[in-house]
Amino acid sequence: MAGMRARRSLREILQAAAPIALAVFVFGASFGVLAVAARLPAWSVVLMSVLVFAGSAQFAALGVINAGGTVLTAIFAGALLNLRFVATGIAVARSLPGGRLLRSLLAQLSIDESYAMSVRAGAPGPPDGRTLLVTGACLYAVWVFGTLIGALFGPVLGDPKRLGLDAAFPAGFVALLWPLLSGRHAVRCAIGGTVAALALAPFTPPGIPLAGAAVVGLWLAR
């Protein structure tokens, strides 16, 4: 039928995912190292990757803990970053097989990378569900394995502060932020978020500056 794309073979999908899988492995390993250095028990670090499967959210939660924030603030920071999955979830829902319940379970395989690959594979139509599932499953395995390796080898490294591992958090946030800064709106949101957080930090308990930044981000994103 005209306009119908040929289904991509499993091999094609995996080949496209391979370089991303390598990057995700390294990201997982660095998360594992830093989480153990921030004195989280190794089992909880791996469990977090198994159950959360969202690099920037896990990294954000860890950054809050490392800076002396509470567990609630850390959950809050990570959850806010994951709010975008509501939007991507709507976009992929119709491309996934099964009823609503099965689709909501399969949607757990969406992360930024697998979502982006499914959008690219389905363009100009809706996201390609098969690409999302195959890429997502592959990246999930690599993410958990990378975290495990990092958490196992992290303690070998030594005193976190002497190694500058506390500075790794803001450095990592900048590295995650930069690729997002394409387009005027994103830059505006980043500046607005910074200003809101710095303005609120001296007067409010931890967590509120992040909430303020989130509100400003939603407000400026048009």
């Binding site: 909880s44 920037s56 975008r84 909501s104 002497r162 997002l180 994103a186 930090a201 303020g212």
Partner: protein
């Protein structure tokens, strides 16, 4: 961090993330004007997280070796260096400044 507290962190974040990924299947198609706004969350929050990392316990900006670490990571990210390179370079700068100049 104590085990039960770490478990609370993991389960709290995991359950909220699960709900967020699951809701898309139960929601009707929202107007794109609404869903597009969530695109502003990540840049605003990540920028705020950087800012908060360079504030002290009193909430005021506290200049230490994290500042040069952030600057270097920013330059490397602008040059499209991979994530791990930015992170390791940031940590190395901080470690070097501490070891050589005994900075905070």
């Amino acid at each position: 961090m104590a085990g039960p507290l770490a478990l609370a962190l993991v389960l709290g974040l995991a359950s909220l993330s699960f709900i967020m990924r699951a809701t898309g299947s139960f929601l009707p198609n929202l107007p794109s004007a609404v869903t597009a706004r969530t695109a502003g969350l990540a840049p605003a929050l990540l920028a705020a997280l950087v800012a908060i990392q360079v504030t002290g316990p009193n909430g005021l900006i506290h200049l230490d070796v994290k500042v040069p670490a952030v600057l270097l990571a920013g330059v490397l990210a602008a040059l499209r260096a991979p994530f791990i390179v930015c992170v390791v370079a940031g940590a190395l700068v901080a470690a070097l400044l501490r070891a050589v100049f005994h900075l905070n």
